[in-house]
């Protein structure tokens, strides 16, 4: 049994314009100590998939079906008070915006101590001592002094480290990091990624990394799921994925990397993402795909095994176009 098993997850949002199908029947697993990257462009459903685990989606308008099992325990039917005990303890989240994700009215030490006092029932003093250790763990220098500081006294990179310290305070089984380095300088990014790697190695935390940056995926992830229009289109260990991408969308993303630029120009993927409202029985990437043929319009390709541990949803998974 895997640590986290997501089966046939579909998430729809009820909006004024109709039903938005953000995630369409995705299944994936996460092993203990594994770093899994969810990648794809904006709106492909990667964040919604991950946020479904602790159910951090707008409660009134979200329709969620399928199954999410953490250690064999079903989370989708868990009542809200039970879920609150899971959030921050078993599953925690690091958000994209370090500048605004900390409470400006309290010291960072207080905010780290807060989750420890809630979930671990630590005393105020013990929680503060632990907060200092956690700041040290995430690589903040002079942690004894920093615990007493307010968020506005820290830089963006520091604040992101504090966010990570809060997230890992209760040694979660699963850490969800939603574009954790996007808002940071490139020089700080590497440092933050090191913190994640270090946490996995030391605490055995499994990490779901949401990113559109394949550079980050190559750097840190063990396995990657490429999503397009709410579905997984390719899934493989990172080395295999980068060596032999099968889906033309994955290939397009790789060609859009700055390091892959030809003649100083990045290759973009032409066309637009299909509407999230309708879901015709065809390949969603067909209109933008260089390999598209008649059969791509006839039915939707399913995930098919391409190699050991490597699946892709494409009728024409040639190694290179």
């Amino acid at each position: 049994m895997s640590l986290l098993e997501i089966t046939d997850l579909a998430v729809h949002f009820d909006t004024e314009d109709g039903l938005v199908q953000a995630v369409r029947n995705i299944s994936l697993t996460l092993e203990e100590g594994e770093i899994l990257a969810l990648c794809g462009e904006s709106g492909c459903g990667k964040s919604v998939t991950a946020m479904s685990v602790p159910r951090l989606l707008p409660p009134g308008t979200t329709k969620l079906t399928g199954s999410i099992k953490l250690d064999g325990r079903e989370l989708t039917t868990l009542p809200e008070p039970e879920l609150r005990k899971v959030r921050g303890k078993d599953v925690s989240v690091v958000f994209q915006e370090p500048m605004t994700s900390l409470n400006p009215s309290f010291t960072v030490g207080y905010q780290i101590a807060e989750v420890l006092r809630k979930h671990e029932k630590l005393s105020r003093r013990a929680a503060m001592d632990r907060a200092v250790e956690l700041l040290e763990l995430v690589g903040i220098p002079a942690p004894r002094r920093r615990v007493k500081e307010y968020p506005h006294q820290l830089s963006g990179g520091m604040r992101q480290r504090v966010m990570i310290a809060i997230a890992v305070a209760c040694s979660p089984r699963v850490l969800i990091a939603d574009e954790p380095t996007t808002a940071l300088d490139v020089t700080i990014q590497a440092g933050v990624l090191d913190v994640f790697r270090d946490l996995r190695d030391r605490l055995g935390t499994a990490i779901i990394l949401i990113t559109h940056d394949l550079g980050v995926v190559a750097d840190i992830a063990d396995r990657a799921v490429v999503m397009y229009a709410g579905r997984a289109v390719e899934q493989a260990p990172v080395a295999e994925l980068f060596a032999r991408p099968r889906h033309p969308y994955t290939l397009g993303l790789m060609k859009a990397l700055p390091s892959a630029a030809v003649n100083g120009r990045l290759a973009e993927i032409p066309g637009m993402v299909p509407s999230p409202m309708s879901d015709p029985d065809e390949c969603a990437f067909r209109a933008r795909c260089p390999r598209a043929q008649d059969d791509c319009a006839a039915s939707r390709p399913l995930l098919v095994r391409q190699a050991a541990d490597h699946v892709a949803a494409c009728f024409h998974p040639g190694e290179q176009p």
Binding site: P54, L56, R84, K85, V86, R87, G88, K89, S92, V93, F95, E97, T100, S101, L102, N103, P104, S105, F106, T107, E114, V115, K118, H119, P141, A142, R144, R145, K148, E149, Y150, H152, Q153, M163, I166, A167
Partner: protein, 291 residues
């Protein structure tokens, strides 16, 4: 990074307060306001202890001009104007602070709940607020005075309730903004419950505009108390109030003008002081002025 500097361990809270004070101190007008407010508080709290009985009558010296014995003169019953000013300050302070406190104690929870939970409560509360705002304050106060009788209690209730809509509206507006903040989303992700989010995340972060509002509400209430007392709807003689003193003084404006001047000056200075202080606090506490 500056970690190599041997900075002594200091509390972030004290540090923040120190920085705010430094920023405040550099501004002349808020400092003048602070001085005026401090003088007003001193007068209200200690003045009555120093000056004599405000109701002691001296028929040998009615409507006496300022002199050594009576620095601000006496009124038509020979009562010392200085003693009455000092005791009047106490009444003004009570009216200003108690009514504002009353409005905050009732208004903040209502604003918090309406803004946080929305649903059916929010529109109901806000329409009630609109209706209350459309109601003239004096008419409301007259009605209340008629029900519970003219007294300091009536003044505090009338002023408190007339400030309520503003407090509710400000609180609700702040809550609406703060509940969408990333740090609230982060708190939910850390497993925080509603109550925890309300008191640890929402309330502390809407404190600044409420503090500023208090410094606006207190002088408004001081003027309100004087107005109501002047009209005979507030504090009743012989209790000294600046408004009551003005009522008496207007009859003797041509023979004893000093009786009208000092209560008027006091009302103006106390109000000015709070307003200057409030402006300064708003500048210093405003997150957009580079926190």
């Amino acid at each position: 990074m500056a970690e190599t500097l041997a900075v002594p361990v200091r509390s972030g809270r004290a540090d923040r307060r120190r920085r705010l004070w430094r920023r405040f101190r550099r501004r002349p007008m808020p400092m003048a306001g602070l001085v005026l407010v401090a003088a007003f508080l001193l007068l209200a709290l200690l003045g009555p202890l120093v000056t004599g009985d405000p109701s002691a009558q001296d028929y040998a010296a009615t409507l006496a001009p300022p002199s050594g014995a009576h620095p601000l003169g006496t009124d038509d019953l020979g009562r010392d104007a200085l003693a009455r000013i000092a005791h009047g300050a106490q009444v003004s302070l009570q009216a200003g602070v108690l009514s504002t406190l009353l409005a905050m104690v009732i208004g903040i929870p209502i604003g918090l709940v309406a803004g946080f939970y929305r649903r059916w409560l929010d529109p109901v509360v806000m329409r009630l607020v609109d209706v209350t705002l459309a109601f003239p304050f004096l008419v409301f106060a007259v009605g209340l005075a008629a029900i519970i009788g003219p007294s300091l209690k009536g003044v505090v209730l009338a002023l408190g309730f007339s400030q309520l809509p503003a407090i509710i509206r400000i609180t609700r507006g702040e809550v609406l903004a703060i509940r969408e903040m990333d740090y609230v989303a982060a708190a939910i992700a850390d497993g925080a419950g509603d109550r925890h989010i309300l008191f640890r995340y929402v309330l502390p972060n809407c404190a600044n505009p409420l503090i500023v509002q208090a410094t606006v509400a207190i002088p408004a209430a001081i003027i309100g108390e004087s107005t109501l007392s002047f009209l005979g709807l507030g504090v009743q003689p012989p209790t000294p109030s600046w408004g009551v003193m003005l009522t008496t003084a207007q009859q003797y404006l041509d023979v004893a003008p000093w009786l009208a001047i000092w209560p008027g000056v006091m009302i103006a200075l106390a109000t000015l002081g709070f307003n200057l202080l409030g402006d300064g606090l708003r500048d210093v506490l405003d997150p957009r002025s580079g926190r």
